[in-house]
C-alpha cells in the first residue's frame, strides 16, 4: 500500500486517477440507490424487529420489569439469581440432555435412511415424501397431542406391549421417561436433514465407489472412509441447524406436560421455562436475562462447530 502511494505520483499524472475515482463513485451511487431500495423492507425489519429489540432486551435483562410499570434498574441481579434458581438449573440440565441426545439421534436416522434410499431404488419419490411428512407436521400441537396419546398409561404403545405380556410404564407421567418421549418425537422428524443428505449423496463422485469396490472394501468401510468424509459439509450444515432448532423446542414440552414442564420439571425445556417466567408470572426482566443467556449459549455452540469444522469438514471438493 505505502509503496504504491510513494511510487504513483512520480510516474502517473494526477488527473486520471481522480476522474476514475469520480466515475467509480457515480456508478456506485446508482447501484446504492437500487440496492438500498430493494433492501429497504428488510433493513427496516432487521432494525425494528431484531437489532433494536436485542439491545432493548439487554437493557431489560438488567431491570425488574412486569410490563405494567416502568422497568427498575437492578444491575446484574437477574443473572446472579439465575445461578441460584433451582428450576432454572433444572431447565438448563434438561435442555442440554435434550440437545445432545435428540440432535445426534435425528441426524443418524436421517443419514441412515438417506444412504438406504440412495441406491436407485424404485419409488424413491414416494419414500422421500412420506419420510419427510413428519418433519412438516412435527411442530404442530396436533402431533404433540397424538404423542401424548401414544405414550400415556393406556396409550397405543402400552396396548401394543401388552400383546407380549409386557406391562408398560406411564411414559408421560413418569419423570424418568417423560423426557425421552420428547427425544423420540424429535427423532421422528428426521425428514428435513434426510432430504439434504440425499441431495448431497447424489453429488458424490461415483468413480471413488468403483475404485473402492475393486479394492474389495465392504459396505461399512466404504461408508466410513468415503461417504461420510465427502458428506461432512452436509453433516456440518445439518448439525448447526438442528442444534439451534433443538435449543428452541417449545410446543411438545408444553403440550405433553400440559404447560407445566412436569412431571417434577423433567420436561422443563429452556424455552418453556422462559415462557412461564415471562408470560406466566410477568417477570420480564428475568426472562430477558434468560433469553440473553440462551443467545450466548447458542452462539458458543455455533462458534465451536465452526472452529472444529477445520478438523473434520472436508471442503476439498
Amino acid at each position: 500500500m505505502s509503496e504504491k502511494t510513494v511510487a504513483a505520483p512520480a510516474v502517473v499524472p494526477v488527473p486520471p486517477p481522480r476522474r476514475s475515482v469520480r466515475v467509480n463513485k457515480r456508478k456506485r451511487h446508482k447501484h446504492n440507490l437500487a440496492g438500498y431500495g430493494f433492501l429497504a423492507p428488510w433493513l427496516i425489519g432487521v432494525f425494528g424487529f431484531t437489532l433494536i429489540p436485542m439491545v432493548y432486551s439487554l437493557y431489560l435483562s438488567l431491570t425488574k420489569f412486569n410490563l405494567l410499570t416502568a422497568p427498575q434498574w437492578t444491575g446484574l441481579d437477574n443473572y446472579l439469581n439465575l445461578l441460584s434458581d433451582p428450576r432454572y438449573l433444572q431447565a438448563v440440565k434438561v435442555t442440554l440432555i435434550y440437545v445432545v441426545t435428540s440432535v445426534p439421534l435425528k441426524l443418524a436416522l436421517a443419514l441412515l435412511v438417506a444412504v438406504a434410499l440412495n441406491r436407485g431404488l424404485a419409488a424413491l419419490g414416494f419414500y422421500r415424501s412420506v419420510f419427510y411428512l413428519p418433519s412438516l407436521l412435527g411442530a404442530s400441537v396436533a402431533v404433540s397431542v397424538m404423542w401424548r396419546q401414544i405414550f400415556s398409561q393406556q396409550g397405543l404403545l402400552n396396548e401394543f406391549l401388552s400383546w407380549f405380556g409386557i406391562h408398560g410404564a406411564d411414559w408421560i407421567g413418569d419423570p424418568r421417561y417423560a423426557m425421552w418421549t420428547l427425544v423420540l418425537l424429535s427423532g421422528w422428524q428426521f425428514g428435513t436433514p434426510m432430504l439434504i443428505f440425499l441431495a448431497g449423496l447424489k453429488q458424490l463422485p461415483q468413480d471413488l465407489y468403483e475404485a473402492a469396490a475393486l479394492d474389495g472394501a465392504g459396505r461399512v468401510r466404504v461408508f466410513f472412509t468415503i461417504t461420510l468424509p465427502l458428506l461432512s459439509p452436509m453433516v456440518f450444515f445439518n448439525l448447526v441447524l438442528e442444534t439451534i432448532n433443538a435449543f428452541q423446542t417449545f410446543t411438545p414440552a408444553f403440550v405433553v406436560s400440559a404447560g407445566t414442564g412436569g412431571p417434577i420439571d423433567s420436561t422443563l425445556l429452556y424455552t418453556l421455562y422462559l415462557y412461564l417466567k415471562g408470560f406466566g408470572s410477568l417477570q420480564m426482566g428475568y426472562a430477558s436475562a434468560m433469553a440473553w443467556v440462551l443467545f450466548l449459549v447458542i452462539g458458543a455452540f455455533t462458534a465451536v462447530y465452526f472452529w472444529s469444522a477445520r478438523r473434520w469438514v472436508n471442503y476439498a471438493e
Binding site: 423492507p41 431484531t50 400441537v141 397431542v145 415462557y275
Partner: protein
C-alpha cells in the same frame, strides 16, 4: 455383480424401508382411525380401523371449547395467507438486492442476515412483545403478520439468494442493454424464473405459520381470535378424560390443511428443501 444378487439387495432395502415407514406413519393412521371410534373404544384397540364408525367426535369436538372450530380455522388461514404474501414479496426483494446488486456495505448486511438465521427468536420475544404492547397490537393479528412484510424470516431470503445465483446473469444483462431498469429486470426476468423457490417459500411459510404455537399463544388472548393450535390447546386444559374423542378428532382437523398443501406441492417442496443444503 450378477443380476440376481443386485435384486436381492434391493428387496432387503425395500423391506427395511417399508417397515420403518410403517412404524413412522402408524401413529398418524391410528390417530385418524381413533377419531372415528366411539369414545369407549379409543384406548382399547390398537387397530386403526374403528369397529363402529361414528362422526360423533367431530360434532362434539367442533364446538366443545365454546367457540366453533370454524372460527379458529378462519383465523389460522387468515394469518397464514397474510404471512405467505408478506414473505414472498419482502424476501424476494431483499434476495434480489443481495444476489444481483452491488452496493456499499453489501457484504456486511449479508453477514448480518446470515447471523439472524442463527438467532433464537426467543431472544427478541420479550422486547418485541413490549413494543407491540405499547402499540396496542396485543390480541390482534398484526404482531403475527407485520414482521413478515419486512422480511423477518431470513431463511427464505437465503433460500432465494441461492436460487437467484443459479439464474444466468446474461439474462439480466441482456435486458439491461435493452434499457430495462432494476425494477423491470426484477419483475420480468427474476420473478418468473424464481417460481420454484417462491413455491417452496409459500408452502413452507403456510405450513410453519399454520403450526406455529408459541407466538400465537403469546399474542392472542381472546377466544374469538384464537387460531387452530390455540383452539386445540384449550382442549388439553379441559380434557380430563371425558372429551378425548373430540380432542383427537380436532387434531385430525388441524392436520388436514397442512397435509393437503403438502400433497399438492410435494414434489416441488421436497426438491426445494433438498437444495437448501447445497452451497
Amino acid at each position: 455383480m450378477t443380476a440376481p444378487a443386485r435384486r436381492r439387495i434391493h428387496w432387503r432395502a425395500h423391506t427395511v424401508l417399508l417397515l420403518t415407514l410403517v412404524v413412522m406413519i402408524y401413529p398418524l393412521v391410528w390417530l385418524v382411525g381413533a377419531s372415528f371410534k366411539p369414545e369407549n373404544q379409543i384406548f382399547t384397540t390398537v387397530s386403526p380401523l374403528p369397529l363402529t364408525f361414528t362422526l360423533a367426535n367431530y360434532f362434539s369436538g367442533w364446538t366443545a371449547t365454546g367457540t366453533s372450530f370454524s372460527v379458529y380455522l378462519a383465523n389460522s388461514v387468515t394469518v397464514s395467507v397474510c404471512v405467505v404474501i408478506g414473505n414472498l414479496i419482502s424476501c424476494a426483494l431483499a434476495a434480489y438486492a443481495f444476489a444481483r446488486l452491488d452496493f456499499a456495505l453489501r457484504k456486511m448486511w449479508f453477514g448480518l442476515m446470515l447471523g439472524t438465521l442463527m438467532l433464537p427468536f426467543q431472544a427478541t420475544l420479550i422486547p418485541q412483545y413490549t413494543i407491540f404492547y405499547q402499540l396496542n397490537w396485543i390480541n390482534t393479528f398484526l404482531p403475527l403478520v407485520v414482521p413478515y412484510f419486512l422480511a423477518y424470516d431470513a431463511f427464505f431470503i437465503f433460500l432465494m439468494v441461492q436460487f437467484i445465483r443459479g439464474i444466468p446473469r446474461e439474462l439480466d444483462e441482456a435486458a439491461a442493454l435493452d434499457g430495462a431498469g432494476h425494477v423491470r429486470v426484477f419483475l420480468t426476468i427474476i420473478v418468473p424464473l424464481l417460481r420454484p423457490a417462491l413455491i417452496t417459500t409459500g408452502v413452507l411459510t403456510f405450513i410453519w405459520t399454520f403450526n406455529d404455537f408459541l407466538r400465537q399463544l403469546v399474542y392472542l388472548s381472546d377466544n374469538s381470535r384464537y387460531t387452530v393450535p390455540l383452539g386445540l390447546n384449550s382442549f388439553i386444559d379441559k380434557a380430563s378424560g371425558s372429551s378425548y374423542g373430540g380432542m383427537l378428532a380436532m387434531s385430525v382437523v388441524t392436520l388436514v390443511p397442512t397435509v393437503a398443501v403438502f400433497l399438492i406441492s410435494q414434489r416441488r417442496l421436497v426438491d426445494g428443501v433438498a437444495n437448501t443444503g447445497i452451497k
